[in-house]
């Protein structure tokens, strides 16, 4: 059994931050030492300039960590994060000038930024990679122009200053120590939030959404909502640091507050440290800020542009030779401690080093099959056209509880399109899909989330694993639907993995599984959601004959727990063995329906499909 199991001695505080095993504890210790050094060094050295360098490190590490929530976890590459920094800075400045302390202004700015971030994230959630980046740059430019034009609020191009009122109330100090304490405190706050998000359901949801959006939706993740949440959280944190920095600078102007280069710098620290890891941005800032200072001193004054040139070259070198950041260069032990999620705890080896054994299913105990129940799904006269192409023509389906319905038909017959309509991924042109809810009442769900909430689960013909996650984490994403807390989701995932013969690959990254394993992972993820109606899209394709027997037994076992199943299959043996009834689809229309044996003998079916396919299946 995995050592990921919570050890009873772990204090509740640590567990709150996702520290729940020995490797995590070691990691926490490293981080603690690193952070302590960040605080203690300037105090020991006691020089104002050193204070300044360390305050700058804390600031950039904080900004970069906050960016990472949306840029790393959610995978949306914002190059416009200076926008939130600017909003925080300006809000703080404006409120201080109105006599309100920045301690309040900080939260006002954060609220404004969160709203702005959400408003931007909502329409932009569909945009990928470079297009999200372009949109974020455009929004940044818009804010830049607004800051210049809204003179009555922002002071226009001249910028805004604050009166030099010294004291904690105004966040302005003669000494440097209080500023360092605030910057350090804020960094710890941001790191804590980043760590908590990463190790709770939200973190899994964000990464799942980043990896495979449709699979994430099918797993019941409100993908738009989690992205908006990440954007708002990230924007709010960046904004708070912006308020602090504005008080530290005591002066801001549109050109420096809404600066594209500043945005890129924030991203650069995360990139150099390791995007998507909790502590990568911190490492990046600790490394780069002093290097920046040194290169500026060494090169800056002597040659105009050299410093920027070095910056650009570092950026290119990092992406070519070290795309996973400094974190990936650390010795295995340290890496493991810093990001234990990436490692198999039992051996301490990076995943991928272990040899993959041929997957073996444990024998499955079949219970006595319960009698068929009432109708749980009714499809009435479903029609769908793509332009002139009639992909679904007046299809009617009825499914009873505990029944297995096989769907067969030649390639391009419209089977997967039908599944997409039965799971909410596609809206029908006309006709209805009625699902009996757990409450016993009929529902007409609209959209994936509705279907999921009624207990309709599906797999994908082309497997959609969350490649960067382990098998356990993949299954956990499904388990979260009924078990929001990490511990019980992990337990459920472990149980299901064992049931489906994936137990030994629990800590393997999904991308390392063979195709049969991936198919099984699809089923495991959807089973973790405890579906009432299961849609299986060619889960048998490509698995070897001995596994086929086990797979059939597995599906029977699932059926016998009262789950209703619709299975698209090409493997005739499975269809014949499993199905209570079979529907044959050709050119979007049902051409035959009945028990497997009678369908196989149907002239129309043989003509349309089985004539050549049946031979193939036997081969």
């Amino acid at each position: 059994m995995s050592s990921n199991q919570t050890s009873p001695t772990t204090p509740a505080v640590l567990r709150f931050f996702g520290v729940d095993n020995s490797a995590d504890k070691r990691g926490a210790l490293y981080i603690f030492v690193l952070l302590a050094a960040l605080l203690v060094t300037p105090i020991v050295v006691g020089n104002d300039f050193v204070y300044h360098v360390f305050i700058t490190i804390c600031l950039f590490a904080g900004l970069s960590t906050a960016w990472n929530i949306v840029g790393g976890y959610a995978g949306q590459l914002s190059l416009g994060h200076a926008m939130y920094y600017g909003i925080g800075a300006y809000t703080g400045m404006i409120l201080v000038n109105a006599g309100i302390t920045p301690w309040i202004g900080m939260f006002v700015g954060a609220a404004v930024s969160a709203v702005v971030a959400a408003l931007i994230a909502y329409p932009c959630f569909r945009l990928k990679g470079p297009f999200y980046a372009l949109a974020s740059i455009a929004f940044l430019e818009v804010f830049h122009v607004l800051a210049i034009e809204m003179k009555w609020l922002t002071g226009g191009a001249t910028g805004k200053m604050i009166p030099l009122q010294v004291g904690w109330e105004w966040m302005i100090f003669q000494d440097r120590l209080p500023s360092l304490l605030i910057a350090f405190g804020m960094l710890c706050f941001v790191l804590a939030i980043a760590q908590v998000i990463r190790h709770r359901r939200m973190g899994f949801y964000l990464i799942a959404t980043r990896e495979r959006e449709s699979a994430a939706k099918a797993a019941g993740i409100p993908t738009v909502k989690v992205r908006i949440y990440a954007a708002a959280m990230s924007g709010a944190l960046v904004s708070m640091l912006g308020t602090f920095h504005a008080m530290y600078l005591t002066f801001i102007e549109p050109d420096s507050a809404f600066d594209l280069i500043f945005s890129i710098q924030i991203v650069l620290f995360a990139l150099v440290g390791g995007i998507g890891t909790v502590f990568g941005p911190l490492l990046g800032a600790i490394l780069l800020v002093p290097i920046t200072e040194i290169s500026r001193g060494l090169l800056g004054a002597s040659a105009l542009g050299l410093h920027g040139f070095v910056y650009g070259v570092i950026l290119m070198l990092v992406v070519v030779f070290m795309p996973d950041g400094v974190v990936s260069l650390l010795p295995k032990r340290a890496r493991k401690a810093l990001d234990p999620e990436q490692f198999d705890d039992t051996t301490g080896q990076p995943i991928g080093d272990t040899e993959l054994d041929a997957p073996q299913l444990d024998p499955i105990q079949t219970k006595a099959r319960p009698p068929l129940g009432d109708e749980v799904l009714k499809v009435d006269d479903l029609v769908k056209n793509f332009g002139g192409l009639k992909v679904t023509q007046h299809v009617n389906i009825s499914l009873r509880q505990g029944e297995v319905l096989g769907i067969i038909g030649p390639n391009g017959a419209g089977k997967t399109t039908l599944f997409n309509m039965l799971s909410g991924f596609l809206e029908a042109d006309s006709g209805s899909v009625v699902v009996m809810g757990p409450d016993g009442k009929p529902h007409t769900p609209k959209g994936v989330a509705d279907f999921v909430s009624l207990g309709v689960g599906r797999t994908f013909q082309i497997v959609q694993p969350f490649a960067a996650m382990t098998v356990e984490e993949n299954i956990m994403v499904g388990a979260f639907y009924h078990h929001p807390d990490v511990d019980s989701a992990r337990r459920v995932a472990g149980e299901i993995a064992t049931e489906l013969g994936l137990g030994r690959f629990l800590h393997e990254e999904a991308k390392n599984l063979p195709i049969g394993g991936l198919k099984r992972l699809e089923v495991a993820r959807v089973m973790a959601m405890r579906p009432r109606i299961l849609l299986l899209d060619e889960v048998m394709a490509g698995i070897n004959p001995s596994d086929l027997v086990e797979a059939i037994r597995l599906i029977k076992a699932i059926r016998d727990t009262g789950v209703s199943i619709i299975a698209i299959e090409h493997v005739m043996r499975a269809i014949m063995d499993l199905s209570d009834r079979v529907i044959v689809i050709n050119s979007g229309a049902v051409i035959s329906e009945g028990d497997p044996e009678s369908v196989v003998r149907d002239e129309a079916v043989i003509e349309a499909y089985l004539g050549k396919e049946a031979g193939n299946a036997e081969a």
């Binding site: 945009l127 818009v142 990139l271 040139f309 650009g312 950026l315």
Partner: protein
């Protein structure tokens, strides 16, 4: 009425300028699937080349094309080979950072070499005013308009009528299939990238006599190029031409009726609306939707 006509002509000239800068960007995106954030910097480097070639050989700026084009083509191939190709299969963010890094490095390299000063290529008669009543433009601007249309037509012919062009299109549509058909994909990408930046080489030759050259000059053009490329539909070369004309005209009218500063809000506003509501661009259907999920 006169004013509308004047603004229209101004807008068309401006549109031609945006078009000739954007064509290469959209070509590279369409085929190599890379948004080249350093596109403006290739323009800048090419403009420096034009300046020095003109000064060194003492020839008309247009003549320097024979020097600039091969050099910038080679530079483009080199960048594709050394920087882009090794990253072809990595995450999207990696590619963004690679070209952003290239952009920062190129600007600062030129800053190191030539300082922040401006370099003015002699206008060589290209700033001669053509006076058509309310509408006035420069011969150099007219040449840009003609060249932009010719370039779009030329690239279209090249892609549809030549062996290499067809190979490029095939690779753009399906890289794996192209590979199976025996196309040297790596070579095609290099050539495409080279052609893409050669387009700004041509643009540089036409623009340098009209606009002063400085290390920052690429930045002035590149944001608008992105607007044009997205509006025109990614990878669509004729779409880019049309979009550039629209942006040019919007630019001219907004600049005149709303003011120079507000026009940026209008242009970026349009850009964001297009990105959000018609990410496939203003023209054509869902041809290239690879950038949205």
């Amino acid at each position: 009425m006169d004013l509308i006509f004047t603004n229209l002509v101004n807008g068309l000239m401006l549109g031609a300028l945006y078009a000739i800068v954007s064509v290469g960007l959209t070509l590279v995106f369409g085929i190599v699937k890379v948004i080249n954030f350093a596109h403006g910097e290739f323009l800048m480097v090419a403009m420096f080349l034009v300046f020095f070639a003109t000064a060194y050989f003492g020839v008309h700026p247009y003549v320097t094309l024979v020097v600039v084009l091969p050099l910038i083509f080679g530079l483009g191939m080199l960048v594709q080979r050394v920087l882009i190709e090794p990253l072809q299969d990595s995450d999207e963010h990696i590619m963004i950072f690679a070209t952003v890094g290239l952009s920062i490095a190129m600007i600062n390299l030129m800053l190191m070499l030539f300082g922040p000063d401006i370099y003015s290529t002699p206008s060589s008669g290209l700033r001669t005013v053509v006076d058509m009543g309310p509408a006035m433009f420069l011969t150099g601007q007219l040449n840009i308009l003609i060249a932009a249309i010719a370039l779009v037509g030329g690239i279209h012919l090249f892609l549809t009528r030549t062996q290499l062009g067809r190979a490029i299109r095939a690779t753009g549509q399906n890289r794996a299939a192209a590979q199976l058909m025996g196309i040297n994909v790596s070579w095609v990408y290099m050539v495409t990238f080279g052609i893409g930046v050669s387009c700004v080489g041509l643009a540089a030759v036409l623009i340098a006599p009209l606009y002063p050259t400085s290390p920052e000059v690429g930045q002035y053009f590149v944001l608008l190029s992105f607007v044009v490329v997205v509006m025109g539909g990614l990878g669509s070369i004729s779409g880019a031409l049309l979009a550039a004309m629209i942006i040019g005209i919007v630019d001219a009218f907004a600049g005149f009726y709303l003011g120079a500063n507000v026009k940026d809000l209008v242009v970026f506003g349009i850009f964001l609306l297009v990105l959000i509501f018609r990410p496939q661009g203003l023209f054509g259907g869902a041809r290239n939707m690879s950038h949205v999920s």
